[in-house]
Amino acid sequence: MQIFPFFLKGLWMTVLISGASLILGTLLGFLLGMLRSRKNRLVNPLIGFFVDVMRGTPFIVQVFIVFFIFPEFGIQLEAFTAAVLAMTIMGSAFICEIVTAGILAVPKGQWEASSSSGLNILQQLRFVILPQAMKTILPPLVGQYVLLIKDSSVVSAIGVVELTRVGWLTVVRIPEGLMVFSLVGALYFAISYPLIRISNSLERKLTVNRVSL
């Protein structure tokens, strides 16, 4: 078997799983974050509990639950789907917290001014609150993406042939273990590094902006 094309396939799978769950997790996370920032007495504790459970359990256990336990309730998922689902749910919990913090950092007067002029809640969020909250949200959000991409290596445990799994499968066949996992690491780094740079520069730009205000 050709090693290099095999690695590229693994890399592609990692990008696919991460990309799909980043997008879905971001959508779900923003939705949950917006709901949570309303501080509703019924909804808020529910979302809070969900977030705590997601943060307080190992990701690999969450993946196992989706892949091995869901079928017992009649939800049979392929490894790929289970992986994307587990990552989406976990990601949404972390993103929810980032979004909530960002929204709450927008001064209360912005809500009061926009509601006073007759905007409804969705219009307030879309035109007034979120554009300002993005300054607080973006740097940790991109940082969260990096963590999620690295966490995607966990789904190798349920047999998804992504980058880490490719490393395992290769290393049992050829003796150069160090070379194999260096390559795996380098490929993860190649995806993460640009995001790390983006996150850092956003942080710098947005904080400088805030000081000058």
Binding site: P107, G109, Q110, E112, A113, S114, S115, S116, S117, G118, L119, N120, Q123, F127, V128, P131, Q132, L213
Partner: protein, 242 residues
């Protein structure tokens, strides 16, 4: 236009509004004054339901605000609110600050809303700042933009909560001048302020509050020159010293 009937409100155990009865007719300019913590802000924030009343009845433009089923956004679209701290939208230009609600609440076309906004900016003397961002403006200019933002919704009532208290002294005049003009044009206004000059010039009535109650109501000259209660007299002598 506005009618408070035995209105009460508490923050926890603090009785902030104590049996308020007050009526404001269309075209009337009412100034509310009183010591810090007396409930002035709470009173006018109830009028567009930034705060909810807990007992009594409050009608604004025919809508019963004590009824929780009313259409809040519709009510608020008809009432402008000018804050002490301006609260302009910092991520938008001056023009966008003024057109936002006309476009999304009144469903105006962008061009139409911009023409309207320019007209309102002209009125507050800031047409040349349309493309600026709020942080590039002085406090007085920001407050005038905030007034233009309120005017762009053609409100039936304008509420002001200490509109000049956050301003440097040399900028107070330019904001008051705009407010005087509005008052003279017949706008219905409730203004929390300690600016006696403004009150004497345009207010039809001054309302003095203390500890959540309306202590005294009167014509401005009568109230300032000849207050009926000791508390009002003491308050007036204090603001005169400034």
């Amino acid at each position: 236009m506005i009618k408070f009937k035995n209105v009460n409100k508490w923050f926890g155990s603090l009785h902030v509004l104590n049996d308020i009865n007050l009526q404001v007719s269309a075209g009337e300019v009412v100034v509310v004054c009183g010591p810090s913590g007396s409930g002035k802000s709470t009173l006018i924030r109830c009028i567009n339901r930034l705060e909810r009343i807990q007992k009594g009845e409050l009608f604004v433009d025919g809508m019963p605000l004590h009824d929780s089923t009313i259409n809040l956004t519709k009510l608020r679209a008809e009432i402008g609110f000018v804050f002490q701290q301006f609260h302009l939208y910092p991520h938008l230009s001056v023009l966008e600050n003024v057109t936002l609600a006309p476009i999304h609440v009144r469903k105006m076309k962008k061009k139409e809303a911009e023409a309207l906004a320019m007209e309102k900016l002209e009125r507050v003397g800031l047409a040349d700042k349309a493309t600026a961002h709020p942080e590039q403006l002085s406090g007085g200019q920001q407050q005038r933009v905030a007034i233009a933002r309120g005017l762009a919704m053609s409100p039936k009532i304008l509420l002001f909560d200490e509109p000049t208290s956050a301003l440097d002294p040399e900028m107070i005049g330019e904001v008051l001048a705009v407010m005087v003009k509005l008052a003279q044009e017949g706008m219905t206004m409730c203004v929390v302020t300690h600016e006696m000059g403004f009150a004497r010039q345009v207010a039809h009535r001054v309302i003095f509050m203390d500890e959540g109650k309306i202590i005294e109501t009167g014509k401005p000259d009568q109230f300032f020159d000849n207050p009926q209660s000791d508390r009002a007299a003491m308050f007036i002598s204090k603001i005169l010293k400034h």
